[in-house]
């Protein structure tokens, strides 16, 4: 299993979630976060915004689904500008459903 964590534009996160649900990845968690990228935030006029608000979309999927998830995210979150976000993929060793206590997704 892999955990896919994507930092996305807040206005686009919902569209990504809907597209993921359509592609069969219904379960997901999202969280409001603040961060910056290589561009060190953004400068608008004289004001420098060091940290920008993003939404972190987090989902855990089987190894073979990672590519599909990343493809959906890339196609939906893309605007071509700085700040589109980043996707991180990390290993997950176990998953448990609390309701049943069973292991697995």
């Amino acid at each position: 299993m892999k955990m896919v964590r994507a930092m996305l534009r807040p206005e686009i996160a919902d569209a990504v979630a809907d597209a993921l649900a359509e592609a069969g990845f219904i379960s997901m968690t999202k969280m409001n976060v603040f961060g910056r990228g290589k561009q060190k935030g953004i400068k608008v006029g004289d004001v420098h915004y060091d940290e920008l608000s993003k939404v972190m979309v987090l989902l855990v999927v089987d190894d073979e689904s990672v590519e599909d998830v990343v493809a959906v995210m890339k196609s939906k979150a893309y605007t071509g500008n700085y700040g589109d976000g980043k996707i991180f993929i990390t290993p997950v060793e176990g998953a448990y459903t609390v309701r049943t206590g069973e292991a697995g997704l």
């Binding site: 649900a21 219904i26 379960s27 999202k30 290993p91 459903t97 309701r99």
Partner: protein, 121 residues
């Protein structure tokens, strides 16, 4: 070391805290998250009685508010903590949450620069 990420019901957080503290894991990080599971985010989250005229209103909520609890524990304690989290948070209803176990390479305690297992104790 493993990181245990548990997505649980907000109202179970204080009970979870108590149990984890009794087991010897007083430290953890929690955050407010929104999410949904296989049931697409509805699934009887409301425990109070709904007024009758609201029953006919269509639609549900796309996301359900949850708490994300994260703690890093030594390898040998993973099973204990996961079992405890399941036991405390289980109501047998949809929406009880999910637990993920992820590998962690290293831990550093900022105050003392200790690394690895020493930083966890």
């Amino acid at each position: 070391m493993k990181e245990i990420l548990a997505i649980i019901r907000p109202k179970q957080v204080s009970r979870t805290k108590d149990v984890l503290e009794k087991l010897g894991f007083p430290g953890f990080t929690a955050g407010c998250v929104l999410g949904r599971g296989k049931q697409r985010g509805i699934a009887g989250e409301i425990t109070c009685e709904l007024p009758a005229d609201l029953h006919s209103v269509p639609g549900g909520s796309k996301y359900v508010p949850k708490r994300l609890v994260s703690l890093v524990v030594p390898d040998e304690d993973v099973e204990l903590v996961v079992k405890a989290l399941i036991k405390v948070n289980q109501t047998k209803q949809f929406g009880d949450g999910r637990i993920f176990v992820c590998p962690v390479d290293n831990v550093v305690r900022v105050r003392t620069s200790e690394e690895g297992d020493a930083a966890l104790r």
